[in-house]
């Protein structure tokens, strides 16, 4: 259909990620006449329209805001406060949580390390030893609901401590419900936590996966984070392509180890971002579900339905937010959240409006929960599965997204041997290919904002001198000091011989082909600290250079 694609400035209309947009879409724009066949029904292969047949008609998505700071007690209290708002509720009405850890914990340092100075508990929960988990977990039913742990790689030490704490509280390991990231591609590329050589990261990631398959049927041992690529600088379809490629790479790696693909696929879930570009956001989720199911079945031979279902924890894109006029971020978060819901996510975090000021206040978290509650209970959106399905535009965008994701995944494979996702990703990481791509894309984005080509309301347009400045959340210094003191006492009081034995055992197992998890859990239970465990892995596997 003929139209004028140029706007006033003579530029083509596109989505944020560059997909061209016509003035209007009609049935002629659908490439395949047999639209329904390609889509499938919700809850049926290839799941384009949703992983479950009834989606939110049966249960709403889980309102799962990420949180954590200061101490187990402080984080537990924040969890209680959010529960009182009606948030942090998942399928079946049980409590859900998503926990972040502080800088030292993420980077493998204990609270008393000089490198941890000023940072203990500042941006997340500090964990030095397994008992640090107890005040947080005591109040929660770990065998109901869902607990997501935002764990950077290597994830083994922190996961071992979580398991040790759960066991101390009387839970069986097999009853634990939740997920932990354990995604060393995004840990390395986006978070730039590069503690081990990639061979070591892969070994530990697979040990955790294998342990999870055998012992934790209700736990997702690999929560692939496609989210992080977007704030780093990649666009919507590049980020999703990285997530998909990562998932495929983990399946390749597991197959290399002789783990049946049907056992692996169901252990993988996804943590995916969504920007304020509403239309392409919805299309992105739909395309991803179709690509995941199709590739898993046709390339890897997966037949397990749960494994074929691309299950999503939606997380709204923080880099769309501004420090200026921060209340405007409530509007952005709501639009992003709606795109996630219309895109069929299983759980959702709407990033709080004070994101650019610091970690969230309870008020900001509550506003994010309220936005989700309005979508869930005041609109008709949850009453229909895949409401935008069949829209000429959305089906066009879904196909475009799928084609671009495939193209980017081909580029990834070309970095290696042209066929393996694992080799492509590894080569990209070692050669700094992804670092350079991210840097370039981030610079381009910054230039477009600085020269006004990309409008950011309140920042480069409609800026105002006077603004409502919500208070920034500050973690009380006493909490940091208390944690450091507690660790000093803990190290004095623990059985030093037992600790040394456990460390030696862990090192021996790490050097062998035996799965490290049992030894890691035993080490945690013996009082070995996080940094001590990380040291063992750094010694055995070597640091990334």
């Amino acid at each position: 259909m003929a139209d004028t694609p140029q706007d006033k400035r003579g530029k083509e209309h596109t989505t944020s990620s560059g997909i061209p947009l016509n003035a209007v879409y009609t049935p002629e724009d659908l490439k395949d006449g047999d639209c329904l066949k390609k889509l499938g029904n919700p809850g049926e292969f290839p799941y384009t329209r949703g992983v479950y047949p009834e989606m939110y008609r049966k249960f709403p998505w889980a309102i799962r805001q990420t949180m954590g700071y200061g101490s187990g007690e402080a984080t537990a209290q924040r969890g209680k406060d959010l529960l009182e708002t009606g948030g942090q509720i998942g399928y079946g009405g049980d409590q859900v949580n998503s926990i972040v850890f502080d800088g030292p914990t993420c980077w493998g340092y204990d609270s008393d390390s000089p490198r941890a100075a000023y940072q203990v508990g500042k941006v997340g929960l500090p964990i030095d030893h397994y008992e640090d988990f107890l005040p947080l977990l005591e109040g929660y039913p770990l065998d109901k609901g869902f607990t997501n742990l935002v764990i950077f790689n290597p994830s083994v030490p922190l996961m071992a401590m979580y398991i040790a704490a759960a066991k101390k509280l009387g839970y069986s390991v097999s009853s634990l419900r939740g997920s932990g990231n354990n995604d060393y591609f995004r840990t390395h590329i986006c978070l730039r936590v590069r503690l081990l050589k990639l061979t070591g990261q892969l070994r530990l990631c697979m040990d955790l996966l294998d342990y999870g398959i055998k012992n934790m049927p209700n736990w997702s041992s690999i929560g692939v984070s496609g989210f992080s690529y977007q704030p780093s600088g990649m666009n919507a379809w590049q980020s999703m392509a990285m997530a998909l490629a990562s998932g495929f790479a983990y399946i390749e790696a597991a197959a290399d180890r002789g783990i049946p693909v049907n056992d692996v696929a169901r252990q993988i879930t996804f943590f995916i971002g969504c920007g304020v570009d509403f239309l392409e956001g919805i299309a992105k989720f739909r395309a991803a579900r179709r690509l995941w199911a199709t590739t898993l079945r046709d390339r890897f031979g997966v037949t397990d339905n749960k494994g074929l279902q691309f299950r999503i924890y939606g997380y709204t894109l923080t880099t769309d937010y501004t420090a200026q006029q921060p209340l405007v971020n409530i509007i952005r978060g709501t639009i992003q959240g709606m795109a996630c819901v219309l895109g069929g996510v299983q759980a959702l975090n709407i990033s709080p409006y004070d994101e650019a000021l610091g970690i969230p206040t309870t008020e900001a978290q509550t506003m994010s929960i309220r936005a989700q509650q309005v979508i869930a209970e005041e609109t008709s959106i949850p009453k229909v599965v895949d409401p935008f399905g069949g829209s000429y535009l959305i089906e066009y965008l879904t196909d475009e997204m799928e084609s671009r994701m495939n193209g980017f995944m081909d580029e990834i494979k070309q970095l290696g041997d042209g066929d393996s996702f694992l080799k492509g990703l590894h080569t990209g990481m070692e050669s700094r290919y992804f670092d350079e791509l991210i840097e370039r894309m981030n610079w381009d984005r910054q230039q477009k904002i600085d020269n006004g080509e990309k409008t950011v309301v309140g920042l480069n347009k409609y800026a105002s001198g006077d603004e409502v400045a919500p208070r920034a959340f500050k973690v009380p210094a006493e909490l940091s000091m208390a944690k450091i003191e507690e660790l000093k006492k803990y190290k004095q009081q623990r059985d030093k011989q037992k600790v040394e034995q456990a460390i030696n055992k862990l090192r021996k197992v790490a050097e062998s082909d035996e799965n490290v998890m049992p030894a890691a859990i035993e080490a945690a239970e013996s009082g070995v600290t996080l940094e001590e465990m990380h040291r063992v892995f750094q010694e055995v596997y070597g640091a990334f250079e």
Binding site: G103, Q119, T322, A323, A356, Q446, L459, A469
Partner: protein, 130 residues
């Protein structure tokens, strides 16, 4: 062609945190504008920043704090600069810094604070005046 030596800037991210896109963009913008930029990278401790600044004989130190430790880390840097008689070096900061903390930072000795959203060209212009 200017006979003036190029202004030397040391940039660093403090704290255990991987968010360096802001610092990288500033580094590039300054280089494009003719500054001599040394980017130390992530996870720098205050004493290492000051040691590098001395070794590289820089005119400006730019600190990116993305994990909420701006007040503590910058105060420590100011104290170290004083101790080593390096107060001629201009200290600037950026990152996740709420507006309410800017007065305290300036009082502590930080010359300029560039909060999120500051256009790169504004940072360049501000440093060119130095």
């Amino acid at each position: 062609m200017s006979m003036k030596p190029r202004t030397r800037v040391l940039l660093a991210n403090v704290g255990l945190d991987g968010h360096q896109m802001g610092a990288l963009a500033v580094a590039r913008g300054l280089r494009d504008a003719g500054f001599e930029v040394i980017y130390l990278g992530l996870n720098q401790m205050p004493r290492d920043v000051v040691a590098a600044a001395a070794q590289e004989e820089v005119d400006i130190i730019g600190i990116s704090s993305m994990c909420g430790i701006h007040l503590e880390a910058l105060s420590e840097i100011v104290a170290l600069l004083k101790k080593r008689d390096m107060q001629n070096i201009k200290l600037i900061a950026g990152g996740i810094i709420p507006g309410e903390d800017v007065p305290a930072l300036k009082q502590a000795g930080v010359a300029e604070v560039f909060r999120p959203g500051t256009p790169i060209k504004d940072i360049v212009a501000s440093l060119k005046e130095h």
